[in-house]
């Protein structure tokens, strides 16, 4: 059984969970959205700094949750930074599919580079733990909401 656990809690996740990157509120952030998981009480706020060209110059977050949600938020900030808004959206939808759907139901939401894909795969180990999917996708929903200009992630 520990195999499944190791699959979920890979080293990189434990690391990001304990030492989250970009855990801050950037002064120049011009988009933000909250996400919360009523089941466990976890709450995150995701901040984006999007320039006029639609490039995500900075991505950060505040709040704290379980190892999965924290690691996912942390890794997300690194992945989204430097991407265009459209690319960020693509990442969200691709990741969402990875976490919630069998492979034959994955859609093509746009190109994702190999390195990024690998990281998304790591996070999507959560698929074997359906009840934890919300943890893994919590910050992502908030990020997606922030891009759409909403104050709150609509999905739970």
């Amino acid at each position: 059984m520990m195999d499944e656990l190791r699959e979920l809690y890979q080293e990189v996740i434990l690391d990001h969970g304990k030492n989250p990157r970009n855990l801050r509120h950037p002064a120049d952030a011009n988009r933000e959205a909250r996400g919360e998981n009523p089941m466990c009480g976890d709450k995150f706020t995701v901040y984006l700094t999007v320039n006029d060209a639609g490039l995500v110059e900075d991505c950060a977050f505040e709040g704290r949750g379980c190892a999965i949600s924290t690691a996912s938020a942390s890794m997300m900030t690194e992945l989204v930074r430097g991407k265009t808004q459209d690319e960020a959206r693509t990442l969200f939808h691709t990741f969402h599919d990875l976490c919630t759907k069998d492979e034959e139901h994955h859609h093509d939401h746009g190109p994702v580079d190999e390195d990024t894909m690998e990281k998304l795969m790591v996070l999507s180990g959560v698929r074997q733990f359906p009840v934890r999917v919300k943890c893994a996708t919590l910050a992502w929903h908030a990020m997606n909401a922030a891009i759409a200009g909403e104050a709150k992630a609509s999905s739970e």
Binding site: M1, M2, E4, L5, L8, Y9, L14, P38, M39, C40, G41, D42, K43, R64, G65, C66, A67, I68, S69, T70, F129, V131, R132, C135
Partner: protein, 425 residues
Amino acid sequence: MNRLSPAIAAEAPPYDVERVRADFPVLSRVVHERKGKPGRPLVYLDSGASAQKPRQVIDAMVRFMEEDYANIHRGVHVLSQRATDAFEGVRDKVAAFLNAPSRDTIVFTGNATDAINLVAATYGRAFLEAGDEVVLSIMEHHANIVPWQLLQAEKGIVLKVVPVDDDGVLDMDAYAALLGPRTKLVAMTHCSNVLGTVTPARQIVRLARERGIPVLLDGSQAVVHGRVDVQDLDVDFYVFTAHKLYGPTGLGVLYAKYEHLKRMPPYRGGGDMIQSVSFSGTTFKEPPMRFEAGTPPIVEGIGLGAAIDYVEALGRDAIALHEHDLLNYATQQLSQIDGLRIIGTAPGKAAIISFTVEGVHPHDLGTVVDQYGVAVRVGQHCAEPLMDRFGIGSTARASFALYNTRAEVDALVDSVRAVKEFFGA
């Protein structure tokens, strides 16, 4: 809930937990079996969320559906008569279980939440006005908060919140001080589902009654862990839910003094609660029927009857004693784990232990111990204000029932140690 007197303890027959466990089919289950791997025996420590059902309850429901099922109250044929007698017999049984003065004080609802909403929507809506105060505690379950907030939004009533100390003991001085001329109702838990705190119900009622204020007690956890006597408590409203008492889902109970029921307007409208219907004017039945619209949870009633028989046969004091032993043992064993903090350390508490482990989020803990077969609840336990009070987002909670064992406590402790190791905490 009365404290156990040593006299009762000495007289109690030995409690054969293995025989008890044999009554619960699910307890012999193995979980997380995977291709070739043997899996783990289930260690069910989540009875506070919902209890497992003994064979006796399941059988009673099955037998009823196979032999006597029909809709009730309206039929002259034999099945309908038998079903009506059986279902209404459970009303007597529930009355006896709570030592209610009469069967007519027992109203069946959908769950405990529904029962509290009934009081808020009928008594509350009819008799409370803008500025009137309802006193509750910081450790209420959402079921005893949100109905009053809905009434607050509708009528402008005011909610007053009694704090707890760091052990989770209700602050009775604060309580007494909050009772004022505008207080129109006290709505308080009889036992916290998070902390295990048993509130001093008699004192709560007495202080309120001295000021002519009616009291509702949420007994959802209390009836499970001890004996309840609504007449002795002199409480106005008492609420519990069948599924936590080893009974079926879909059924709750409201006890209310008849003088209140008599004055309360209907809750839901429909069949079975009316005396006469016409478009020029409809009249309603007397309580309790006035509050039971439509086809009730008939089969569930039969199941609750069997559940009450079951706990009465085991002996409620014997059960309390057994759970008390588990609580003590678990408290002692868990306390030895570094970084483990128990939230809720009130004297005389019920067999519920909420805890946190430093460096590990409860949610991660829950996932890992589950892999060891240990089922605990993690999260806010529908008590968000209480979480805020203790400055935590969530806890893990082990809740013990009449079928748990010391070996299961050991399994819990081992799994928590494994969690710490896993996360290097």
